[in-house]
Symmetry: C2
């Protein structure tokens, strides 16, 4: 393999991105020099946070560069190695996504031991989205006995694991997602009260229907009306882990925040934003807990898979129209 396709950022979107913001290019891969490996990607991930990287704005992840290949999580297999740490056939995780393959220094990729899980799980439930769910629920929100948990984007890669961790620990869980298919998925993973937000006029009433006593923890993947409903239904000393606000990522004008934010005061609510990279110290404990839950059948996951590098932009765009149940992935080989 010396010729591969890659996806480049052709133009920066205003509002909702389209296929025109992406272009495909074919590049030649050099043979690995000393200390380098050549890798054929098997899977790549698309995630909502990448939308922010399409803007030319300084944030926690650097912006994608115009005319350059994009990047993100990927899992591949070594096809040629010029470094003693890796050999042909090894599975590796890297940040060299959005391309079919690459030649890179061996020390910029991580050898992957799948421990019996499917390789692509390490881009989802056993990877960054999984740790996001774990750290957000247990550390940021500080889940404690008796908490009633409300999760938005509950059928997504992060949200569905949040729901299942909370259930594994014996909590009542209210989950919101869009459409009957996702609601069925939420029920299948044990969510106590599944809300189809697209069919609800009053999200506050919908949450209260499942939790008349109110909620103690809110895991936010969505922002907007969901956050307002969480504020309305929060009990005293509720904790909100603010993980994402996909409802506003494509807004051309910054949309107003929740109109009921003053409820933070009387209810003594703690609202805390986080990104997973500040919680990587939890990784070993997360992997240990997750493998236990998987063995006990307490954690399941779904994937929505697009095939081929040419479909990567469609997979990404599908995140914003809610086309995925569970982790959105692109299978590259």
């Amino acid at each position: 393999m010396t010729t591969v396709k890659e996806i480049r950022l052709k133009s920066r979107p205003v509002g909702m991105p389209t296929r025109d913001n992406f272009e495909t290019a074919t590049v030649e891969l050099r043979a690995p020099g000393p200390g380098e490996v050549q890798v054929k990607n098997l899977w790549m991930t698309v995630d909502p946070y990448m939308r922010g990287r399409m803007n030319d704005v300084k944030s926690y992840a650097p912006p994608f560069q115009l005319g350059k290949v994009m990047d993100g999580g990927a899992i591949g297999q070594v096809v040629a190695s010029n470094d003693p740490s890796l050999k042909e056939g090894d599975l590796v995780q890297s940040g060299y996504g959005w391309r079919e393959g690459y030649t890179a220094p061996a020390n910029t990729v991580q050898k992957l031991d799948t421990k019996g899980l499917p390789v692509q799980a390490f881009l989802g439930v056993a990877g960054m989205p999984g740790l996001t769910a774990y750290a957000g629920l247990l550390r940021v929100a500080g889940l404690k006995d008796g908490d009633v948990v409300f999760v938005s984007g509950a059928a997504g890669a992060v949200g569905s694991l949040v729901c299942q961790i909370a259930k594994a620990k014996g909590h009542k869980v209210i989950g919101s997602a869009g459409g009957p298919e996702k609601v069925a998925f939420l029920k299948s993973i044990g969510v106590d009260h599944a809300i189809d937000y697209k069919a609800e006029k009053d999200l506050t009433a919908a949450v209260l229907a499942g939790a008349p006593e109110g909620i103690d923890v809110y895991f936010d993947n969505v922002g907007g009306a969901h956050l307002e409903a969480a504020l309305n239904t929060a009990r005293l000393f509720a904790r909100f882990a603010i993980c994402g606000m996909i409802s506003i990522y494509n807004a051309t004008e910054p949309p107003p925040g929740p109109r009921n934010l003053a409820q933070l005061i009387g209810k003594n609510i703690r609202m805390e934003g986080f990104i997973v990279s500040h919680h990587s110290d939890l990784l070993p404990k997360f992997v240990e807990d997750l493998s236990g839950w998987v063995k006990e059948g307490k954690v399941k996951w779904q994937e929505t898979v697009f095939e081929g590098i040419d479909k990567a932009p469609d997979a990404f765009l599908g995140l914003f129209s809610g086309e995925n149940t569970g982790k959105m992935l692109v299978k590259l080989a």
Copy 2:
């Protein structure tokens, strides 16, 4: 004293309250029965949180009742006692404000030892507003070495103490208040960069002018544009103590929240609402620290005083037009 005037809630305001929402009544005080005292009030307090109590909405403080005397903090002097715990001449603190005097069970008032401070200080710097500042800055925001502190409503009873505690602990403090007189007051208490928000078009730029490096702690008394500026200028892991949002208390339609709330995520900001009553365990430590700071000349305070019970509604309304520098008080005798 057997005849006193009291202020009653005549009607519930829609939006900004007016004098018409209040009425004055004259009532006879009964002689104290067994276990009761009769008290002549010397001072009463008006505070922004009372605006919420004018609405018929369940919140952390119960709503004022239509046609009934209002209540709130007051300091008075015992004029007749039928209980061994109190004698004529004793100073007492109570929740029987908005009236010139009262007869009540002795166990519903607290004897006051002024420790050399003026009595009315116990409605301000040494009382509930003082503890609010202390608990909010030190516990809720978790002030730590090197933090840059931004305070809105900085010339008010709570805000001005927040500024001074932060200065006493060696921090850089940015304070915002309305008008040149308040800015002069902020400078006089050592605020490093005082913002007259009424003269600023761009609050974010105004904060950055004083703290180009950004802020670590925001103490919010105001909400609205100040909260947006705090989000814009926050550094990684900033903590916001949300104490009040006076900018929106009189809105007839709930105003939009901050448009940049998604910055919570990338900056890992913790935003926590609180009310002082959940922090009364800090009272002894607060009183000890405060008396030390007062002795060292590190804490000063101002009062804006209205005279006579008839002026109590004006004093209260003045809070929302910013007529007070420091604590707004009503002197009753």
